[in-house]
């Protein structure tokens, strides 16, 4: 009797705990979601309605005028194009170079392999921000300031990606490479036809990391680019959304226009998010266990 009563009480306590816990999580999810709903609703509202002090979760006076204004009048298509070019070209080159470097480091008899790995780890210890000023000086000497090339070049390889790719390649039995060599295949063939194929999840992980990182890249374009024709999306949005006054003094940027800019910048990330779900988590863990 006593026992079952105790059990009942525990059951009740368990249930109330679960309920409170669930409520807590739902509340946190709301804190994450509501800002985005607010942004989305305002971006589809008319200019005047978007400036009203109301709690808005659905568009009032539905209109796409914000999108038209920012895309055409404020020429957001140009920074969008610049960002797309830099992101796509940069990501493709980054993945190619990092996986090539990672491939070199899996062979057992590479001279100086230990030194190379130590050196790569060392580069990961130095925060990128700490070398921005020297980088600026070097890029200036190479006449790379105000070119999109400099944005592709910055962070073209990274220790993180090299070691991540190496980790994925190490998961493939080395005997396969040896068998390929026995059959007379060259290293490049083995790399391209065997390793890249078998390490496809690794390629996806590095590509996604790089895609998101480059799309969001802010410090590099801020420092290396000051010609507004070469602005990337993040830098352009910074001036439209945040220092609105500097865009133009006679033209008031309404809230719906700013919010449309935010939605446009988020869209490509939302498009890759399902894949992020699949590959990021694994990649994060591999990256973290490296440290």
């Amino acid at each position: 009797m006593m026992g079952s009563e105790r059990f009942e009480r525990l059951g009740w306590r368990n249930k109330s705990f679960d309920a409170i816990n669930l409520l807590f999580l739902l509340l946190l999810m709301l804190v994450m979601i509501v800002p985005f709903l607010n942004v989305l609703a305002l971006s589809f509202s008319s200019g005047l309605a978007s400036m009203q002090p109301n709690i808005v979760l659905f568009p009032t006076e539905f209109s796409a005028e914000g999108y038209r204004t920012i895309w055409e009048s404020l020429d957001l298509w140009r920074p969008f194009l610049n960002s797309t070019i830099v992101t796509v070209v940069g990501t493709v080159l980054h993945v190619m170079l990092s996986s090539l470097a990672g491939y070199v480091l899996i062979h057992p008899h590479v001279p100086g392999k230990k030194a190379m790995i130590t050196f790569i780890l060392l580069t990961m210890m130095i925060p990128q921000e700490a070398v921005l000023i020297p980088l600026y000086v070097v890029n200036k000497d190479f006449h790379l300031i105000n070119t999109l090339t400099v944005l592709v070049l910055s962070g073209l390889v990274s220790g993180f990606s090299i070691l991540l790719m190496r980790n994925f390649f190490m998961g493939i039995p080395y005997e396969i490479a040896e068998a390929g060599r026995m059959d007379g295949a060259g290293d490049f063939w083995i790399f391209a036809k065997i390793y890249l194929r078998l390490a496809a999840p690794g390629l996806a992980t590095v590509s996604l990391f790089e895609f998101v990182g480059r799309w969001n890249m802010f410090t590099a374009p801020l420092i290396f680019i000051n010609d507004s024709m070469k602005y990337t999306l993040q830098v352009a949005l910074k001036s439209i959304i945040i220092d609105t006054s500097s865009v133009s003094s006679n033209y008031l940027v309404t809230t719906n226009v700013k919010m449309a800019g935010i939605v446009i910048a988020i869209l490509p990330l939302i498009a890759v998010y399902p894949f992020v779900q699949r590959f990021f988590m694994k990649g994060i863990m591999l990256g973290a266990s490296k440290e």
Partner: protein, 250 residues
């Protein structure tokens, strides 16, 4: 520009004697320390709470939703929050007014709030990321430990306290060390969320470096400042490694 005359330690001494450098170091340590503390505790609580959820679909959805802000750039996150926190049309102030009827708070203009905004928004953005690291650590805990605890009559809280937390120690150390290395390099966030009225309270070391090197073209001074940042980061990392006895657990 690379062939300037040898200046000895002049640049370093200029930085060393610049009160703004020390002011921005203080700001960096206060804001960075806040982000380090809250950005560690919040995701830990979140991970423990998520771990108690048995419904797999809900758990997955929650994780997905909480991770979204981490994907976005600081320009976007900053833009969203500057708007949300604005005194007259921002959602936060509108809600506060409806609920408590207080006067709108100028979150981004008052020096009391400026640092808190930095810390809270950073936590909002990166909570989901660290949470995933913690969750991944929790998954690797041997289930038989929980079984043994249950047989000994441990309640759910006791299981968390005496099994999950001690077993999670090495993951906690990794997360803390990773976050420490980021403390001194905060830039994007401050650069986006700062404004003239809060600048004295939030301008961090990297903003100092940026202003010196890019805005005022004092490249030598800026390089000296960033080298000091690098040294501070190394020192801080070493101290944290020692304090957490990182090597012992690995």
């Amino acid at each position: 520009m690379g062939d300037g005359p040898y200046a000895g330690l002049a640049n370093y001494s200029q930085v060393w004697h610049d009160p703004f450098f020390w002011k921005s170091l203080t700001n960096t340590l206060v804001i960075g320390g806040g982000i380090l503390a809250l950005g560690f505790i919040a995701p830990l609580v979140l991970a423990l709470s998520l771990n108690e959820v048995l419904h797999a679909r809900f758990k997955k959805t929650a994780q997905m939703v909480l991770y979204i802000p981490h994907l976005l750039s600081w320009v976007i996150v900053g833009g969203i929050w500057i708007f949300l926190l604005s005194p007259d049309t921002g959602l936060v102030n509108l809600l506060l007014q409806r609920l408590t009827g207080t006067q709108p708070i100028h979150f981004l203009a008052e020096s009391f709030w400026a640092r808190w905004v930095m810390i809270l928004v950073a936590t909002w953005k990166d909570m989901g990321y660290s949470c995933i690291l913690f969750l991944a650590g929790i998954v690797t805990i041997n289930p038989s430990l929980y079984e043994a605890a249950r047989i000994d009559g441990a309640s759910r809280w006791q299981q968390v306290r005496y099994v999950t937390l001690p077993q999670l120690l090495s993951t906690m150390k990794v997360v803390f060390l990773l976050n420490t290395m980021g403390v001194l390099r905060i830039f994007d966030q401050v650069f986006v969320l700062r404004n003239p009225s809060t600048a004295p309270d939030v301008d961090v070391l990297m903003v100092y470096t940026f202003e010196k090197g890019i805005m005022n073209m004092q490249v030598g001074v800026a390089a000296a400042a960033s080298f000091l940042v690098l040294l501070f980061t190394l020192a801080l990392t070493l101290v944290v490694r020692k304090l957490t006895r990182f090597d012992e657990v690995g």
